[in-house]
Amino acid sequence: MKLAGFLLLLAGWAIVVAAVVLLIPANARVIFVVAGVGVEMIGLTLVIRSNPLAAREKE
């Protein structure tokens, strides 16, 4: 799960970079940057939850 989380972090960052580099309209850029950050947050959540102590606390 930790590996998946880190891959999502990188994927979210790639979405942000692509939005900044490739998109011109400001609205589209904002939407995709926010989407990229959202993907990053999902990845970060997975990484955090993969910590055995955090997972045990959730049970």
């Binding site: 880190f6 972090l9 979210g12 490739l22 940057v33 950050v37 606390e57």
Partner: protein
């Protein structure tokens, strides 16, 4: 640069080492007495390795605005991603040129960034492994991100290339120094695991208090002097702030730290009946961290608000990391530096104002704008996204790979004896009986 400005910047740069000294004392005080000497010696070694590796290759890859760099052409625009300097600072004339001043400041900045993870790894990080990890941070992770923000890289170019405000603004290093160090601290805390006896079998944390409050609080005062130098020199060298802004920067730095420590004192006083020394000290440093990015471009009132929020953020997040996320961070490095640094970057978007004369870098790097620009918020958000989505996986991967070939955590026997005896053969307080194990069942 005029000679008077050169002398001024040099004096500011010479204040920066106080931040390293202050943080070293804070970390030592927050750790256990059985590892005090080891903590300080490791701090010295970390600084030495960071400075050495940075001179060898770090500054070559960080570079400075206008220096040769590797670029990628995408969508018809050039995106600068890595500097193309010479190793060992070759080719740099130390005649007061801005690049030479930047190299001087960066030696201390990278030392500070490398020292931050020590706060999260107290009492269990081997000296040799700390040096190896520092080499990775100083030689690669730090220079890469610092180039993107301070060296004319793609984050700084967001203003010119993508009409996003002035590009990423980070005067004193909330992102480049503090967040990079704090996220490395998080990665190492995950890799090392918690201290022996920190969590019970049920997963409940046990309090392991710091051993010397005087060291912690003295470190806070020293760190303040260092931050004055970092913020002021960084604002002049990396955002083109006018020297006259130093007074505003100093006022804002002091106000942010003061508001943060008062917030932490009030909150811990209300929650626990008495103020907590270690959390309040972390609050003070959190205020310094949060003030760094925007110090040259905010009003004193904004500095108070930024500091107060930083203090509250640190106070609650220290507990959140320990209790809910299962991350053992004795020095509060993750809360103070990672979260504080990220808040500092975002605060630029909310509070900073950029009158045209305040931001003036040769080469047209910064897009001139005399009013608040909504694109600035997006630029700062992109910087935060880069820290979380790229720097964190990078530093975690590098340190995980290092851990495979060079184990970072000391043996359990070493942790029981204390790192002073186990790694150094002698304690910091040899005349006192300094510890007794009081733990019951633990993991």
């Amino acid at each position: 640069m005029p000679i008077t400005e050169i002398v001024l910047v040099i004096l500011l740069i010479l204040l920066a080492p106080f931040s390293v000294a202050g943080l070293s004392l804070i970390n030592t005080g927050l750790g256990r007495s059985r590892s005090a000497a080891h903590c300080l010696l490791t701090s010295l070694c970390i600084f030495a390795v960071a400075a050495g590796v940075y001179v060898i290759c770090g500054f070559a890859w960080q570079g400075y605005i206008g220096a040769p760099a590797h670029v990628i052409v995408v969508a018809g625009r050039q995106w600068n991603w890595l500097a193309r300097g010479s190793f060992f600072l070759r080719g740099i004339e130390f005649d007061g040129a801005p690049i030479s001043l930047a190299a001087g400041l960066q030696i201390f900045s990278v030392g500070l960034a490398a020292l931050i993870p020590m706060g999260a790894c107290l009492d269990r990080w081997r000296l040799s492994a700390a040096c190896a990890s520092t080499a990775l941070l100083a030689g690669w992770t730090y220079p890469l991100f610092a180039h993107w923000v301070w060296g004319g890289g793609w984050l700084a170019q967001l203003g010119i290339n993508a009409a996003m405000g002035h590009g990423v603004i980070d005067a004193g290093g909330s992102g480049t120094i503090q967040a990079v160090g704090g996220l490395t601290a998080l990665a190492l805390a995950w890799i090392l695991g918690p201290r022996r006896g920190k969590y019970s079998l049920e997963g409940m944390p046990t309090a392991i208090p710091g051993h010397n409050a005087v060291l912690i609080l003295l470190g806070c005062f020293l760190a303040f002097f260092g931050w004055l130098g970092l913020n002021s020199a960084g604002a002049i060298l990396f955002t083109g702030a006018a020297p006259g802004r130093i007074v505003l920067i100093s006022i804002n730095t002091a106000l942010a730290a003061g508001a943060a420590v008062l917030a932490a004192v009030l909150i811990t006083g209300m929650r626990f009946g008495r103020p907590d020394v270690s959390i309040s000290a972390n609050g003070w440093v959190g205020g310094l961290v949060a003030s760094s990015a925007s110090c040259a471009f905010i009003s004193p009132l904004a500095a108070l608000v930024i500091g107060a929020i930083a203090g509250a953020l640190v106070t609650y997040s220290v507990e959140w990391f320990e209790l809910h996320l299962g991350v053992d961070d004795p020095g509060g490095a993750i809360s103070v530096h990672a979260l504080g640094g990220i808040w500092g970057l975002l605060a630029v978007a909310i509070f900073a104002r950029f009158p045209a004369p305040a931001v003036d870098i040769g080469g047209g790097l910064f897009r001139a704008a005399s009013t608040r620009d909504a694109g600035q918020a997006l630029a700062q958000a992109v910087a935060v996204a880069t820290l979380i989505g790229f720097v964190l996986p990078l530093t975690y991967g590098l340190n995980l790979a290092l851990n495979r070939i060079w184990p970072q955590r000391v043996a359990m026997e070493g942790e029981r004896q204390g790192l002073d005896l186990y790694e150094l053969g002698g304690g910091a307080y040899p005349e006192f009986v300094t510890h007794s194990d009081e733990f019951g069942q633990f993991r």
